[in-house]
């Protein structure tokens, strides 16, 4: 019994899950109906579903970010990528009013699959650009992605011509607001991406390769891993997840705002990865942990809203969480605790 408990606390998922449960308890305390789930209009409806649905874009981006951080990198351009991909999707779909058989309907300017493909392709291009700068030119990841972060919103403004592009085409709203079998569509997308990633990183050697590049790029190169190509494609993948998230976000708010779409999303994504137990110094990564981290952030936001505190306080709380998580993760604190434990005579 004790051994199982010890094993449980050692698990990387233990602390993120404890945090999430505590946050849920706080929510239940202030809002007793927090866990209630009803069926309305044939789909599930409730706070938990709402949190899951709203956390979906963050979960997607954080998964991509997990891989990037695992290779000892960072991608701070995901917010800008979301803005660009969202702008492309919204401008291509748009929606113009036509009267079909006496009924007013909106049709998309370009076929929707084509618009999706275009948005994802543009996101991929952003990722390839980042990858080229990091893996090709050998720039520091934070600086290489800073370039796209600076220029990206300008590019997005260029696509939307400085306007907020509103989408009127009904079928497009399905991704962000729709339900399949009562569950939000966005969650299926998250599940699909997670499934593919888990398959690739745990059933093939890819996960091991990524970790080894994160631990020591030179050594992994010498052992025959093409580290450059790996890092290159990891950045490309991260931007594609940002592209998918952009489709969900754009569909959810039915418009693309080049200035504010995905603003500060990169920070949330990094925070989610850190909360999930992945070390920011590279190496081991935990995809499920990242998902829990994203849920923690969204639940925290929800709790702050339901407490009636001004939502702006959210940033202060997040900052304190960032500091807390980093201090807990820091080797210096572990050394300190270890020293303390040794001095008090008991085994750690």
């Amino acid at each position: 019994m004790k051994a199982t408990l010890l094993k449980l606390t050692r698990s990387h998922l233990f602390w993120p899950c404890v945090t999430l449960v505590l946050l849920c308890l706080v929510n239940v305390h202030f809002n007793p109906g927090f866990f209630n789930i009803e069926i309305k209009d044939g789909h599930l409806y409730g706070s938990v579903i709402d949190i899951l649905n709203r956390a979906a874009p963050l979960m997607l981006i954080a998964m991509g970010m997990t891989l990037v951080i695992a290779t000892r990198g960072i991608d701070i351009s995901v917010g800008a990528t979301v803005a660009i991909a969202g702008a492309v999707a919204a401008s291509l779909i748009g929606g113009s009013l036509v009267i079909k058989e006496g009924v007013q309907t909106y049709v998309s300017n370009t076929p929707m699959p084509l618009a999706f493909a275009a948005a994802l392709f543009v996101a991929l291009l952003c990722g390839l650009w980042n990858g080229l700068l990091v893996a090709g030119a050998g720039m520091q990841p934070i600086v290489a992605t800073l370039i796209l972060m600076v220029a990206g919103r300008g590019v997005a403004q260029l696509i939307t011509e400085g306007q907020i592009v509103t989408v009127y085409y009904e079928p497009f709203f399905f991704i962000g607001n729709g339900f399949i079998f009562g569950i939000p569509v966005s969650l299926y997308i998250v599940a699909a991406v997670l499934g593919v990633l888990l398959l690739l990183t745990q059933r093939t050697a890819l996960g091991l390769f990524i970790e080894s590049v994160g631990i020591n790029p030179v050594a992994s190169r010498f052992s025959g891993i093409s580290a450059r190509a790996l890092v290159f494609w990891v950045y490309a993948f991260c931007s594609v997840t940002a592209g998918i998230a952009a489709l969900i976000i754009t569909s959810n708010v039915k418009s693309a705002d080049a200035n504010n779409a995905g603003l500060l999303l990169e920070l949330d994504a990094i925070l989610a990865v850190a909360l999930g137990g992945t070390s920011l110094a590279g190496g081991r990564f935990y995809l499920i942990g990242t998902l829990v981290g994203a849920l923690i952030i969204q639940t925290l936001t929800y709790a702050i809203y339901s407490l009636g505190v001004p939502p702006e306080i959210n940033m202060v709380v997040k900052a304190i969480v960032v500091f807390g998580v980093c201090i807990i993760q820091s080797p210096a604190l572990r050394d300190l605790l270890l020293k303390h434990a040794l001095r008090s005579g008991g085994p750690a």
Partner: protein
């Protein structure tokens, strides 16, 4: 040969930057009427005084090989605290300014200590600082607070005339004084030499017995102080405090330092270069404003393109060659070294 290469690496970016500035200014003078005047040049200093001050602090941080993402939000927090104290509590400007400067320095010191004592990565700590400072702005007020204090307005409108038609504002003078002090600090003091040594190789600096930890903490303190000073200059410029002031300023400051020739890996660069970097960003803005037909978001794209090309140039110079092939040799480094040993 090797020595010449080193000198080139150190000074070439600065030379390229200065030439680029002259080129851009020349282009403006030829293309637009009234562009070529002393006042347009001085306006660059006036309009970008706060960016200059912030970029100076950032340069020191980058010289040690670190990065400070919190500068923009510290600027915003400073404007907010200043506005709240002056407007809502009717404090004197002479009490408020020293207070906010101390606050900025302490904020920097806090981040510096976290980086040093807990061995945390600078970008994640300053990212947290960025959140914290912006959040604290909104705790004070969500709306913008206008500053109507007469002393403030007087300082803000005061102009120091040079000859007939040229003048500078108080902010620009403060920025230039800060620059002079920073150059002295970087080039002629023990602190400055330690900063360069840490950027060159932190372990060697430690083995040489230099106070690495203390200097790193001081550098972030300095950056916090410069950001707070930048914030004070913003209140002179805008006469208001607002949580959304200086959004994205950290990017401009980093871009200015890089364009000014400071190596992002640390150890190489000049504080004066950052002034030229800021001026280039200013000229681009002026050019776009003079043109009138280009939208303002072209500024962001232009800064991004400049940042990218200067970063690539740095990579090239680091490799010490002009062959483009060297640009892509990051992952080959150990092998090359092994070859060199053979």
């Amino acid at each position: 040969m090797n020595l010449a290469g080193t000198i080139n690496t150190r000074t070439l970016p600065l030379l390229v930057t200065s030439a680029l500035f002259a080129l851009l200014f020349g282009f403006g003078s030829v293309s637009y009427d009234n562009f070529f005047s002393v006042q347009v040049f001085l306006n660059l200093l006036i309009d970008n005084a706060f960016v200059t001050v912030v970029a100076i602090g950032m340069t020191f941080v980058i010289l040690t090989g670190g990065i400070d993402l919190s500068v923009g939000s510290i600027v915003a927090l400073t404007t907010m605290v200043t506005a709240a104290l002056v407007e809502q509590h009717h404090w004197s400007i002479w009490a408020v300014v020293p207070l906010v400067l101390t606050m900025g320095a302490l904020f920097g010191l806090l981040m510096g200590s976290l980086i040093h004592y807990f061995r945390m990565q600078p970008f994640i700590v300053t990212l947290g600082g960025m959140f914290l400072a912006r959040g604290l702005c909104y705790v004070i007020s969500i709306d913008s607070i206008a500053i109507t204090d007469p002393t403030y307005a007087a300082v803000s409108e005061y102009r120091i005339a040079f000859g007939e038609e040229a003048f500078l504002s108080v902010s620009a003078i403060i920025a230039l004084l800060t620059l002079a002090l920073a150059i002295f600090l970087a080039q002629y003091t023990r602190f400055g030499r330690t900063v360069y040594a840490i950027g060159g190789n932190e372990r060697s600096a430690l083995l040489m017995g230099l106070p690495v930890g203390r200097t790193k903490m001081l550098v972030y303190t300095l950056s916090g102080f410069c950001s707070a000073l930048g914030g004070v200059l913003v209140t002179f410029y805008m006469l208001s405090g607002y949580g959304l002031h200086a959004l994205g300023l950290e990017m401009d400051a980093i871009a200015a330092a890089v364009i000014g020739g400071t190596l992002l890996t640390g150890g190489v660069g000049y504080v004066a270069g950052s002034l030229v970097g800021v001026m280039i960003l200013g000229v681009i803005q002026s050019l776009i404003a003079f043109d009138g037909s280009l939208s303002s978001w072209w500024t962001r794209i232009a800064i991004g393109v400049l940042l990218c090309s200067f970063c690539l140039m740095q990579r090239l110079l680091e490799r010490g060659g002009t062959n483009l092939g060297f640009l892509f040799s990051y992952w080959k480094k150990p092998e090359e070294q092994a070859d060199a040993v053979k």
